[in-house]
Every structure is written in C-alpha cells, then in structure tokens.
C-alpha cells in the first residue's frame, strides 16, 4: 500500500482529519494578512483525547473554532468522517455541528441570561428528538446530575444566580446533552476558581468514559494538559506556536523527550 492510499484511508476512517489547514485574517490597514493558523495537519479517532497547548495568540482558539464549524479555513482540508466540513449543506451541516460541541472559556458569557437552565437545555433535546416531549424535564435533570448538580436546586434558576464553577458545569451538561462525538473545550477552567479546576476536568473525563466522547482540550497550561491526558488514560499532545503545530505525539513521549525548543520551554516553565 503506498503512502497516498494510506493517507486516503486515514482521511475516511478518522473522526476528524485536518490536512494543511490555514486561517488568514485580512486586517484593514495592514498589507499582510494575519496568519492565525498556518498549515496545521492532524487527525483524531473516536474516543481519542487530545490536548492543544500554546501561549495566548498562538492560534489554538482559532483552530478550535475551525473544528466546531464556526471559522471557515482559508485553505486546506478539514474533514469530519471523511467529508469536508465546510462543503456540508443544510441538514448535513447541522448534524455535523451537533456532533461537535464547544465548551467556552468564559462561563459568564456562555449562558443566555434571559433563560432558566431548563429553558437553555431543553430545546436542543427536542430539536434532535433525543427524548420524548414528556421526558424532557427528566432528561435535563439527569444531565444536571451527571455534572454533579442537584437538579431541583438548579433546573429553574437563571445563570446570574449561579457561581462560575456551577455555570461551567451547566455548559458541560449543555454541550453533552446533544450527544456529541467530539467536544472542543477551549480553556474550560481558566476562569474557574483554582480549587474547582480539577473537578471540572475530571467531569470531562467522566463523560469520555461514559459516552466515549472525544476531546480536544485547549489550554495554555502544560501541567493541566498533562493531567488531562494522563488521567484520561493517555492521548495526543499537540503544541502550537505562532499558528503552527510544532510538536505532536503521545503525551508521555512528548513530555519525557521533547524535540522542539518551544515545547522544552513550556515543560520547563511548569517544573520550575
């Protein structure tokens, strides 16, 4: 089997397959476009965990937005189950979006302040016929239970009545409620109180165990990325610098034997 064929098979069987994806932003008053993502290639399989590490401005959030379907790449191939994400039309695109959910960084901005928790979570369950109409409330309750919140204390509350940690749990419940195959968690604990961070990370890993959800965990914190992957039973560590993936490999291998200078710097900054 030649290399080309092998690539073709990988592209078809992978959950996610990115080939040389770039995102450029044209900025008024500048002659050159801003290159946020620069020729990124990687793939993800069902149930796989990945952590995307880099400092702010490295393009990791933009890459995350490409994955969830919010940012069309300037060039390159972004395939989901072998199909080009940005060529999907109508129902197929909606189905894809449902399969790939995003957990935002800021739990204060991620919930509609005008709706109760139930009103926020229920419509998507109905939209995708995940449960019968009469069972909607029960389903929302069980999602809340899953993320460690007592349903009767939360289901009819408004977001402003909840703490940051509670809101982020709601956001996780909301993302998982539509039964996604892949969740992109973009700095999900950066704005959470330090003492609660690991419990939220553990929550994400629980859902991987229970539903087989894949994760792309975006963070600037190498230690947190390592915790996420090792606790989750291993996975892929991807290091991003200035829009480029400078290093990618199994987490233990990369941590113990980093090849790129930037990766070494990130690891050193943790151990110091």
């Amino acid at each position: 089997m030649d290399e080309l064929q092998e690539v073709g098979i990988q592209a078809k069987t992978s959950l996610l397959y990115f080939d040389n994806v770039s995102v450029h932003f044209e900025i008024k008053g500048m002659d050159k476009p801003l290159i946020a993502v620069d020729g990124v290639s990687f793939s993800m399989n069902d149930g796989e965990l990945a952590a995307l590490v880099g400092e702010s401005g490295s393009g990791k959030s933009t890459l995350g937005r490409v994955v969830v379907g919010l940012q069309k790449p300037t060039s390159g191939k972004a395939l989901f189950r072998g199909k080009d994400i940005y060529k999907l039309k109508g129902k197929a695109f909606l189905e894809y979006r449902r399969s790939v959910q995003l957990v935002h960084q800021d739990p204060y901005a991620a919930l509609n302040p005008a709706l109760t928790i139930y009103e926020s979570l229920a419509p998507a369950l109905r939209r995708w016929n995940i449960v019968d109409k009469k069972d909607t409330r029960k389903a929302v309750s069980s999602m809340l239970e899953f993320v460690g919140l007592r349903p009767e204390n939360y289901i009819d509350k408004y977001p402003n009545q909840l703490s940051g940690g509670e809101r982020q749990r709601i956001c996780v419940a909301r993302a998982l409620s539509v039964r996604p195959k892949l969740v992109v968690a973009d700095e999900p604990v950066t704005m959470i109180d330090v003492s609660l961070r690991l419990s939220i990370v553990d929550l994400l890993l629980n859902s991987k165990k229970q539903f087989g959800t894949s994760y792309i965990f975006i963070t600037h914190d190498m230690a947190l990325a390592r915790y996420f992957l090792l606790k989750g039973g291993g996975g892929k560590l991807m290091v991003m610098e200035n829009g480029k993936l400078v290093e990618m490999g199994d987490v233990e291998e990369v941590i113990n034997n980093p090849k790129h200078e930037y990766t070494k710097k990130l690891i050193e900054s943790v151990t110091e």
Partner: protein
Amino acid sequence: MKYGYILRRIAILVATLYTVITITFILVRLSPYDPYAYFLSQEASMGIASPSQLAALAEYYYNLIPNQPIYIQYFQYLISVMEGNFGHSLIYPQMTVANIIATRLPWTLYIVITSTVISFFIGTYAGQRLGYKRGGKVDGSIVTFFTVLHSIPIYGMGLILLFFISLKAGLLPSAGAYSANVAPGPNLPFIISVIRHSILPISTFIFGSVGGWTLGMRANTISVLGEDYVNAAELRGIPTSRIASRYVGRNAILPQFTSLVISIGFAFGGAVFVEQIFTYPGIGQMLVTSVGDGDYPVIMGITIIIIAAVLISVLVADLTYQFLDPRVRK
C-alpha cells in the same frame, strides 16, 4: 420584588416632584420680573380692587395670599398644588388650570403614546434585521438613511411634513384635532376626523425617533450576536427563529425597553414643538400659548405636569425592568 427598593424609588420621586413645585414657586414669586407682583399692581391700577378683593383675586388665580410672609405663601401654594388645585387661568378666568390640563392632556397622551409605540416597534424590527445583515450594502445605506433621519430636529421634521403633505399636496389637515363639522363623540365621522388630524403630528414624532430606535437596536443586536451563548445555541442546532427571538431579540431589546418608557416621558417636552406646529390642542400647544399670553398659573401647572410625566415614566421603567431582566431580579 424588594419592597424597600420600591419605597425608596417612590420617595425619590416625591422628593423630586416637591423640588419642582418649589422651583416653579420661586421662579414666579422671586424672579426679578415678578409676574405675581405685576398682576397685583395691574389689578390695583385698574382701580377695581379694594385690598380684600385683591387678596381674593390673588388666591383665585395664583393660590397666593398677598401681604403674608413669603414662607406662608409658599406653604399655601404647596398645599393647594397637592390638592390638585393649580389656580385659575388669567386669560380664561372661569377655567381652573386643572380643568385646562384635563381637557388638553388626553390629546397629548394620544399623540405621544401612539407615536412612541409605533416607532418602537418599527425601529426594533428594522434594527434587528439590520443587525443580522451587518456590514452588507443594504445595511450601510439604510444606516446612513436612519442617521440622517435621526439628526433632523423634530420641529424641522414637523415643518417639512406640514409644508409638503398638508399645504402643498393638501392630503391631510394642517391644524386642530378634528374638523369643526363633526360632532365630538363615539361616532365614525368624528373618529375618522381625529385620526386624519393626528397622522401628521404622530408621523413627525415617529420620523424623529425611529432612527434612534433602529440604530440602538442594530447596535445591541450586533453585540449580542457576538456573545458565546448565541454561537453555542447555533452549534446545538437551535432553530434560527428561536435564536432570533429568545437569544438575540430578548437580550438586545432590554436596554431598548428602558428607553421606551423614559422616552414617553420626554416626548411630552417634544410635544411643545410638534403641537405648536400643527396647532394641535394638547398641553404642549397650551404651554406655548400661555407663555405668549403671560398666563403664569397655566405655565406653572403644565410645567409640573410635564415634569411629573417624565418622573413617573422613569419610575415605571425602573420597576418593570426587573420583570424583564432576571439579572436585576433577586
């Protein structure tokens, strides 16, 4: 709902109103050109009045008793205003100021409330559509149009409409609230006449304010569209129409709603111009007429009513806001 908060708001309203009443008293009584002293000297010079008759006249028109210390006069005035007694008109001595306001106010309320509500709905709808089409060609030209519209002062707009629609084209009447040849009452010709006469004043208010509603709603819509919860809803496949109403519309309209109630109050001030231009018999036109006639009791009464309208609408906006925005509710 916090009762302490409501009570505090009402206390502020009462205190402000009290200040306003005091200021109207001071303006009339203590200004260098003292209309009340002028009135007394005029009545005296006509030679009709003995001091006791003069005192009776002063109380009749101004609620003031001459030859009393100023603080007694002040309390006298305060008490009668609180009783709803604003004195009598100098020009129409048989009419109380309260009577004049009661016959004029409904016309102003009709014009102001109708136009504000229509303008609000048009502006909110157009603003949300434009917000969704932000950055496009349609958006750019319509925004320019509304900006220009918004920057025309309301009296300029009134004169333009009066000149072209009424005087040049003769499509609609130019003055009054209804024709002389219909009998006021619940009959069809009267209602049609009232509507025809009110179209121009109402349109003037609408043209003067719809640009503001549109641009405001457009800006709010654009900022809400950038919120994380909107794209999270898109990702979950929430239908577009539901996102437009429950996510974008609901959150973008909140600041608009506060302005809506407040603007009804402030439109009373705008009514002064618009009613004068269309000789519409509301309190605004009455105010202008009274200023021309030097009818001070009426001026004082209408000033208090206009300011009370602003204060009450601000209070209503404040209290209703908590029902709309769960973040203010506790």
